[in-house]
Symmetry: C2
Subunit: 344 residues, 2 copies
């Protein structure tokens, strides 16, 4: 399988995130990709494709232009104002405090565009997230050019980012950008399958009123898991999109067998949708050792997951999302791709 | 002047607040009151009245009952869930992420009830904020019983708290609670004068549609100062309340002479309103040395401020709000009260 590596993956490197009452080192950091590269090397994967630059257009097809402008320029403004630490929002426009996307204060602007304080904006945030998106688009290009599948190995992740909101370590939603680009480039229907431990709230929100993208997410139940406010099975889409969003929230402690059965149970709906392309939001934070997640998947389970994804028999773009147990992250990702390939 | 001391002022003692990209020690901490008590002692003030307990009713006359219930019980739930650090919200219900006041996750509930991450909830938060409110009500009682003025010396402050939102170091809005109680106890009209460096967004929001409370706030301009989203001079009230909210945002670096002239310029409007009681939200973070504010008032200026407040010639309840330069905080507060008394 072709692997596209976001060579700017390390530029975004936050000092810390607000996590359950403390400022802790960022779980989402460059060592995640370092570790995957190391494991891949051990498995004989040494060739990586460099992302092509498709520019801002496919990004703006998904994200609000003022939001993209914010992400692109906020660090320079923040630095010019004399700040040396990361930008972490500490006030936000709650109900009764009117949002202002043009607020002269960078703190207020960040608090208007963010929904969580776990996602610092740093010197390299734009560079990393821009090339993560380009990397996803390059993976799509490979599939459009006839490859059965391709993998975008990149960070930061994207699936929590809304059209105009960042949070959950996500800035640009590479998964949604690739899904939209697939349509723009000729697909009639796209299915996004989000296997990350966390609900893909951004992707859901972006395609919520639409019937040309079926968004499916299996994840830790929002009663007890980030992003809390979205991810319930009652969220089925709206208007034309009604019936085109499927959430499968699962309890803490869920094992792969349960997860796998749930995916199997909705396979007919996915097949019936008739997608031309499958975009997989590939998080491996479902792993039993993940520091911020609560499923109990084993490394071997990811082989089966890959095989199960292959059974949809669709051109498939894998896009790297979460996974924070840096030790086995490479094996887990490799196994999904290997399982998929084995099922050829 | 009678001084009512919230004897539980030290119970709320947060470990840290998110401030411009870092977790820093809380600016709003018990040493503020310790320091005032020390200075007051040096000036010969040694008698303090203990707050009476007026119960929840006057609090519920201002705050939503579910919010009060949240403040009262969240720490126990947080602790029962095994947490040992303060509760600081790190995700919030931004636009597109629906608020849920009954969310099973305490993180999500905190993010629904908070508008900033500078206000930790700790073991003693409820106790301190409850008795801060009772302290304000006791000061009002003194005035209702014929005292010309009384001062509630307490923390945490209150003026940023909305009917159902905490933030800016504020949980229960003692100022609004005292203003509402004054009406309940027979006043026809109440004027709230907020002289804290920061806009009294909570007090404004609570009385925004009403004409029986004139809310006046002079403060650092929201373009560059907390709470950013509110405090503009275009916010004049709504419906029956139109014309009953006055905001005077002033630029960074403003000296007392300018501030004083601005207050003088609207004195006629305050007189014309015909309040029965004046509630002063007394912050002294307008001081030149304040670590999070940008006005340049001197200690001597506060004497003049007190005299200017006395000129409204109304029964007056002073309620302690902000002020974070712990060194001279006692002198600055004392001078406001002394200036007021001198103007007898």
């Amino acid at each position: 399988m072709r692997v596209i590596l976001n060579t700017n993956y390390a530029s975004h490197n936050g000092a810390g995130e607000v996590h359950h009452g403390e400022l802790v080192p960022c779980f989402e950091n460059p060592t995640r990709i370092d570790s995957i590269l190391q494991t891949f090397k051990a498995y004989g994967v040494t060739e990586y494709q460099t992302p092509e630059d498709f520019g801002l257009e496919p990004i703006l097809a998904v994200h609000d232009s003022d939001y993209v402008d914010f992400l692109q320029h906020i660090w320079q403004e923040w630095q010019a104002a004399g700040n040396t630490v990361d930008l972490i929002p500490y006030i936000w426009s709650a109900s009764g405090l009117p949002a202002n996307h043009n607020h002269p204060s960078l703190n207020a602007r960040a608090g208007t565009y963010a929904f969580s304080s776990d996602s610092p904006i740093t010197a390299g945030t734009w560079e990393s997230t821009y090339w993560a998106a380009q990397s996803a688009l390059t993976a799509l290009q490979q599939v459009n050019q006839g490859q059965r599948a391709a993998f975008s190995l990149s960070r930061p992740p994207g699936h929590h980012a809304h059209a105009g909101l960042y949070g959950g370590y996500c800035y640009l939603n590479s998964t949604a950008i690739a899904a939209q680009a697939a349509l723009t480039q000729g697909a009639s229907k796209v299915c996004v399958l989000d296997v990350d431990y966390h609900h893909g709230n951004g992707t859901q929100d972006i395609f919520y009123p639409r019937s040309d993208v079926l968004t499916v997410s299996l994840h830790g139940h929002p009663d007890t898991n980030f992003p809390y406010f979205l991810g319930y099975d009652t969220e089925i889409g709206t208007g034309d999109g009604e019936g085109y969003n499927i959430n499968i929230p699962l309890p803490d402690g869920t094992a792969f067998s349960t997860w796998s059965k749930q995916l199997h149970d909705i396979s007919d709906r996915i097949h019936a949708f008739g997608a031309d392309v499958l975009i997989v939001a590939l998080g491996v934070d479902t792993f039993e050792g993940d520091p911020i997640s609560k499923f109990t998947f084993t490394t071997a389970d990811y082989l089966t997951m890959g095989q199960q994804i292959a059974a949809f028999n669709l051109p498939t773009v894998f896009i790297m999302e979460g996974g924070y147990d840096v030790g086995p992250i490479g094996e887990n990702v490799y196994n999904v791709l290997a399982g998929f390939e084995l099922a050829k």
